[in-house]
Amino acid sequence: MADDLLVHAEGLSKVYGDVVPTPALTDVSFSLGCHEFASVIGRSGSGKSTLLNLIGLLDTPTSGRLVLNNRDTAGLDRDGRAKLRNTFVGFVFQFHHLLPEFSVIENVYMPSLIRGDPQSTQLVDRARETLETLALGDVADKNANEISGGQKQRVAVARALMNRPQLVLADEPTGNLDTENTDLVYELFRKVNREWGTGFLIVTHDRAIAQQTDRILELSDGRLLQDVANPGVEREAPAPGKR
């Protein structure tokens, strides 16, 4: 196993239910290297979100081995999983999941506060800088409920990037957005991947979106049907130094 892998999955399976076992994912094996920009496609119920939840340590596999950042996740307790989730992974969900009790900028630096960073000018500056990268500088001090749906989703992206994670997991991140905002979010993903060297694994059911990624993993009925490099995308070398 190469040292620079972000994700290494071996025979990952997930079965829901004890009385009537329902397999959601069966024997999925793949690896994701640093700075990769990959997508997972498949029909509804194919196991895409299950795979993402397992990699994001939101759920535990029924069997198989999952190594994140060269660390076997099998030995992690709930706190250990929470810590790795906080530092290694950034999540973007289909729904923005912002905290309505907090302002936009507070939502953005919340993962850093969870990590244990003290509330400081530097922290606020870093959050503001992240927001500005995503063209959200002017809404930083608004309440999370006072901005548009597209802006909320971009704030969710900013929040996912705040701890400068090595891997961003995005589950249908543009499912609730119009075409304009969808394009904007994917441009942002690409920009972050290119400039910060952040790895991306994007779940989508839209093949057109998947075509914009460098690698496509296709799931069907919980099994990995194919894992192909996307020849149609012109790759640019990431600039890890900027992370």
């Binding site: 929470a82 989730r85 999540f91 999941h97 912002l98 009790e101 993962p111 506060l113 969870i114």
Partner: protein, 380 residues
Amino acid sequence: MLSLRIATRFLRTSPGQSILIVAGIAVGIAVQIFVGTLITSLQASLLDTTIGNASHVTLQNVDDKKAIVYTPAIQRVLASDPRVKLIVPDRVLSVIFSKGTDSAPINVVGAEPSDINAIYKMRQHLVAGRLVNAADEVILGKSFAKKYQLKTGDPVLVVLPGGEQQKLTLVGIFDVGTSAVNDRIGFTTPDFPRRALGMAANDYSDIQTQLTDPFQSQAVIRSWKGLEVFKGVQFKDWQVENAQLLVGLQGQSSSSYMIQVFVLVAVALGIASTLAISAVQKTRQIGILKAMGLTDRRAGLVFLWEAALLGGCGTALGLVFGVGLLQLFQLGPLTFPIVLDPAFVGGSCAIGVVVALLSAIIPSRGTSRLDPIEVIQGGG
């Protein structure tokens, strides 16, 4: 303290709910302080009225008709017992007061003026004149003096048990607030009854004692009973003499505790149910925070902090309400003083916060166990 910050924000964004809980706790603590202090003050006043000016343990000869000999050995035992705060040997003489065609029985209690002052706080209760100094002086109750139109300096003619008449001088008039004393007790020096009864220098009708803790009377009597020096001595316990009063006080205490406990239970249930609702309302937020890496312990702490903040604010407000109510109550025609016991008030406040924290255990544990996937999969 991220958990505290989140808790504060949750509370601030649900002001109506927060105010309701704080008000609930405040009312509970106010009732607790008000009822507790009122009952305690009333009981203290009743006790003070009943036994503050009376003997707690009285020593008498086993033969009621005979005097008790106040031997140096008894003096030593009583004086060296740290539980005893006052010793008043006295002589009691029954005489008939006579004025013109009127007559009335009086019990004349002869004791050292300083002892009379100590046990009956007589100097405070004097409404005219002074305490006795000489053997032929007497002080009488206000109602008695009024009934027989006596004033200080007047002669008081009494008929002794043997039929002999004796003239005393009224030097003071007192009002101890008890008609049993005001109507038929007179106080003199010990010499007058001693001479009248023909007693020896160490002979007394009884020896009154007051204890630092009146409720220790039974233990004190138990420890004295076996001593050789008290052979031929009987002990009278104020608790036995006032058994009815004690039953009443205990009943009052029990009902006071019951009220306080039920108020606290109601407060606890109120906080617990509101926090449980709050926990359900904030499930999505907690799930999101956990998805971002908030640990179970810190997530659970959010609701403990909420409870601590609500409990602290509610208790502080309850303290103000409770003390304010007591102040208002004192403006009315009260017959007893209200004494705020800092330990009781402090205890009530501590109970308020602890009850709030205990009420948060269930929502806190639920939050702690929440799996973020449940919220994330549930969508918006």
